[in-house]
């Protein structure tokens, strides 16, 4: 449903993505793994229309979306949980969630989704009136995921959701990602935590220096000697 074809993205004169092609099918969990600076976040920002590719195209259901502004892309059902979570620190948990549904007008659906995210993360319901900046790192990540879900996306993009979290919280978050996917949301998961990511993903891509260097089913990547050496520390 989502496809990148030969995408080159630049920051000024610095080229961050080189000829990136990948595809994410309906209902899949696809992961993108790679070291620091590989170009993973750049890939997500290019999909969301924050950055625009200089060459190549981004297609959603076969339609090019890479020239559209971010709001048009969100409207088409793509939500991102960005690196560093980017919670609005001076707004309450409730307001952060409200903003997740910014483009929606179906009050009943919004209320239903609010219940849904509170059922996924009951702690957020307790923290409703607290400002985002006062939440712990794990709670902020839960809020960031919930905020993205409030847009009722068809595709959820996650940028290193495990970053800086305790192992127990990481497992919890990955469990939720799996659950969300089972409820019909396609997931594109960027991770450095290759082990965890490949365990819940169906397929994966490996990125190095702005290029896709490997692509396979998650099982094959998990057992590939190259991946084991470079990303699993074995």
């Amino acid at each position: 449903m989502l496809e990148l074809r030969d995408v080159d993205t630049y920051y000024g004169t610095i080229q961050a993505l080189r000829n990136v092609s990948l595809s994410i099918g309906d209902g899949e969990i696809v992961t993108l793994i790679g070291a620091n600076g590989a170009g993973k976040s750049t890939t997500l920002m290019t999909i969301c229309g924050i950055l625009h590719p200089r060459h190549g195209e981004v297609l959603l259901d076969g339609e090019p979306i890479h020239t559209l502004p971010p709001n048009a892309i969100v409207r088409r059902g793509i939500s991102q949980v960005p690196e560093g979570r980017l919670i609005f620190p001076d707004m309450t948990v409730q307001e952060n969630l409200d903003l997740g549904a910014f483009l929606r007008t179906d009050e009943a659906g919004i209320r239903q989704d609010m219940e849904y995210v509170f059922s996924l993360f009951p702690i957020l319901a307790e923290r409703r009136r607290q400002t985002g900046g006062t939440l712990s790192g794990g709670e902020q990540q839960m809020l960031a995921i919930s905020r993205a879900l409030m847009g009722r996306p068809r595709i959820l993009l996650l940028d290193e959701p495990s970053l800086g979290l305790a192992p127990i919280i990481i497992s919890q978050i990955f469990e939720i990602i799996r659950k969300v996917n089972e409820n019909g949301v396609t997931v594109f998961l960027v991770e450095q935590n290759a082990n965890q990511a490949l365990r819940i993903a169906h397929r994966g891509y490996v990125m190095e220096n702005g290029r896709i260097v490997m692509e396979d089913s998650a099982d094959k990547l998990l057992s590939s000697p190259q991946v084991r050496r470079a990303y699993l520390g074995m």
Binding site: C48, G49, I50, P69, P70, N71, V74, R75, S79, Q80, P82, G84, R85, L86, I87, F88, P89, D90, M91, E95, D98, L99, G100, F102, L103, G133, L135, G137, Q140, R147, G151, G164
Partner: protein, 304 residues
């Protein structure tokens, strides 16, 4: 003793009146700064254009014999709408093309815009002071306290309070108000949620300009005259107020305006009026040196 108390109250209310006008204008600086980190130096001119618009509309309506209150309302509305249109256009013409450029470029553009608007008003209108019609009604119930608070003080205080309360409610509870706060706190994240940053920026200029126009009409009615340069000094004072309260902070602009107004009023009343402007700009320099975040501003801390 009673005399001293009355004099104190007179200065106090005079300061509040003056301060609430500063606050109205300061809000425009702070809102724009909060969203795009630009000091909109043409903001004082928008305030001046608001006052001129009211003057012209009031003049025309006066010829047709409209009652004073109707003139006041219509002229104020026209001033708000016209000034908002100017604010909107200034952003599109002078700042939007420079987004992504170094921070100095839009600042220079802002100063250029300010000079342009002043000269435009000189050419289109006049460089002389023009008498401003007495639009604010007399309020008989103020008669026995007229010594400490006149009708125009009262109207200015009530109007600016209502305006600021409405603004606060708008920013806090409305959909676009939340979008404004979100954009101010993290532009990229706001974009990722589908918030149209261009719309938010335009809206910010429109609101800031409308508030300045309200201030312009009120103070022009109070003073009884306007000219092309009134925006310059008022703009600088309001900017001082915004910095004093903490630039980027909405309650800060309100508090900063009031504090500056009170300080000016008391210094003038107890010492001498000669130092009124020196005081404001001395304060500006001291705040910038010792407490650049202002009274209510805070250093940006973000948990990652």
């Amino acid at each position: 003793m009673i005399d001293e108390l009355l004099y104190f109250l007179e200065l106090f209310f005079g300061g509040l009146t003056r301060g609430s006008i500063y606050a109205l204008i300061a809000l425009g600086y702070t809102l724009v700064y909060g969203i795009i980190e630009l000091i909109n130096f043409a903001h004082g001119e928008i305030y001046m254009i608001g006052a001129f618009t009211a003057l012209i509309v009031a003049g025309v309506l006066g010829i047709y014999g409209f009652p004073a209150v109707a003139i006041l309302v219509i002229a104020s509305l026209a001033a708000v709408i016209w000034a908002a249109a100017y604010g909107f256009t200034v952003e599109k013409v002078a700042y939007k093309p420079l987004r992504g450029a170094s921070r100095l470029s839009p600042l220079i553009s802002a100063i250029g815009m300010s000079i342009f608007l002043q000269n435009y008003v000189i050419l289109a209108q006049t460089s002389d002071f023009v008498p401003f019609p007495q639009l604010l009604p007399d309020l008989p119930f103020l008669e026995h306290i007229g010594y400490i608070m006149g009708p125009s003080d009262f109207i200015i205080l009530v109007t600016s309070t209502l305006t600021m309360v409405s603004l606060t409610l708008f920013i806090r509870y409305s959909r676009m108000g939340k979008a404004m706060r979100a954009t101010a706190q993290n532009r990229t994240m706001a974009l990722l949620l589908g918030i149209d940053a261009n719309k938010v920026i335009s809206l910010t200029f429109i609101i800031g300009s409308g508030l300045a126009a309200i201030g312009g009409v009120l103070i022009a009615s109070h003073m009884g005259q306007v000219n092309f340069a009134i925006g310059f000094l008022a703009g600088l004072k309001a900017f001082t107020a915004a910095v004093l309260g903490g630039i980027g902070s909405v309650p800060g602009a309100m508090v900063g305006g009031i504090v500056l107004g009170l300080c000016e009023s008391f210094t003038t009343g107890y010492f001498s009026g000669d130092y009124e402007d020196v005081l404001a700009f001395g304060m500006l320099v001291l705040i910038l040196i010792f407490r650049p975040d202002g009274i209510l501003g805070k250093a940006k801390v973000q948990k990652v």
